[in-house]
Amino acid sequence: MNAPHATPTPWTEPDVPVAPNPPATAPVDVPTFWPRFPAAALQGVDTGAIVWSEVVPGGGHWSWRMPRGTAIRFVALEDGPNLSLVLYSALEKLERYNMPDSLKAQHTAHYTRGHVLMSDMGRAMASFTADSTGWHDPLGALLDHERMTARYGDKPYAAARNGMHRSGKDGLLIEIGKYGLGKRDLIAPVNLFSKVQVDAQGRFVFEPGHAPAGSFVELRFDMDVILAVSAAPHALDPNPAYAPKKVGLVAWRCGPAPADDACRAFRPENARALHNTDMLYL
């Protein structure tokens, strides 16, 4: 473990896309990131219906209110990112993504295309409508401050400015706090782009570099949700350096799940969960 401040590393501006302030007479400076994403990672995206795109820097965190019938394609912009993700209903925040309910309904310990993220109220919140990786980690490990400083040393704002280390847990606590949700409300996240297997003795086995640059996964939001993400490293990532990776997001209007939707057809449980959500929007 590094002694704090003993050997300060030179501060370098992280790769955060920040443009200079435009004049007041200019239109609002909405940046368009998605054309810079790898073209292969955008296959199937209805680019005419894109509403926004974003780049979350490694270790960064943000949240969005996503209406039913929108989708986000998440794109790995570097090798081996992790994106911890939590979902709450925007209509009733007591309703939230539930790890055990989702896993047991689909008899799965990983997520890929066809799977559905279910709430504790038996409803589909979001569906995996595309995936290039075949495995996203639902077992909910989340890097906290104690584990982060024990592994990577202390790198506070005073030493590193925007390059400071922020844990995945603190990033998500900040985001859900913006909606009045507290520590007791922080749920087990889904770790997109990460793969954690369980061996015969029940022990975790993390697969480094599971998602190379250009990997993508897509979620369709089946109800109005609050989505919060952190791009901090996975808690089981053995990399001795704090080296979180950038993730690109592109959101568009895709419409609610059609009757012949692949996620409805994936399992009868998923059809019922999507039906339960449809009953919210009569």
Binding site: V198, G202, A273
Partner: protein
């Protein structure tokens, strides 16, 4: 970093004598119970007839925002199953209890508690009127009125349940490894609320469609 202490089975008998217990009670099939457990006290749950899931949550009595955390418990031991030596941790990653004896050998962290709503998903829409663990939890918390509610119904422990994960990433509900009279025993590391539902699930073969009672014992620190 934490050493990986997770394993699938560590059998350990208890030396405690039921005659010395300060609580020794029968807990009927399908029912909830909420009770305090003081730091240092030892709780034993006995699976009287075998393969009865005891769905259990723990809360810090001094801070209702601190609850059992499946993910912190799994992360700190490096794996999914609970058995002798497992430390049951909170969402602040603090030890809440330590499992000190276990004649069953494997307990589940991933299966969660059944709910009327999840029954509609897992089985059929009209299963919603059957009894469930989360209804049990809610009625116990509503009557107790101690500041805990639905937001605090986080993923729970299923003592005596066997929910393995395959290397291919499937979740299985296997036949139980428990049996009549098997027990698990744990020492409280802080003052706790213990919330138990003797699972009333009638749609799942894991309990042979037959929910059964448990026995609860508590010893004071020796």
């Amino acid at each position: 970093m934490n050493a990986i202490t997770a394993t699938d089975v560590r059998l350990q008998e208890s030396a405690l004598n039921p005659a010395d217990a300060v609580i020794d009670q029968f807990h009927p099939a399908g029912e909830p119970i909420l009770f305090p457990l003081d730091k240092g006290q030892v709780l034993r749950i006995v699976d009287l007839e075998g393969n009865q899931a005891a769905d259990v949550l723990f809360y810090n009595r001094d801070d209702p925002a601190e609850h059992y955390s499946a993910t912190d418990t799994m992360l700190h031991q490096g794996g999914i199953y609970l058995t002798t030596g497992s430390v049951i941790r909170s969402n602040d990653a603090r030890p809440m209890l330590t499992i000190v004896a276990d004649t069953c050998g494997r307990h589940d962290t991933l299966g969660g508690a059944c709910a009327a709503e999840s029954n509609t998903v897992r089985y059929a829409l009209q299963k919603k009127f059957m009894h469930s663990c989360r209804d049990n939890y809610l009625i116990a918390l509503q009557h107790a009125d101690i500041g805990l509610g639905k937001r605090d119904l986080v993923p729970n422990i299923n003592f005596f349940m066997n929910v393995p994960v395959t290397e291919g990433g499937d979740l299985k509900f296997d036949d139980g490894v428990s049996g009549p009279g098997k027990y698990v025993e744990m020492r409280a590391e802080m003052d706790l609320w213990v919330l138990i539902s003797n699972c009333p699930q009638l749609n799942n073969p894991c309990n042979a469609y037959n929910p059964t009672p448990t026995r609860l014992l508590v010893w004071n620190p020796t």
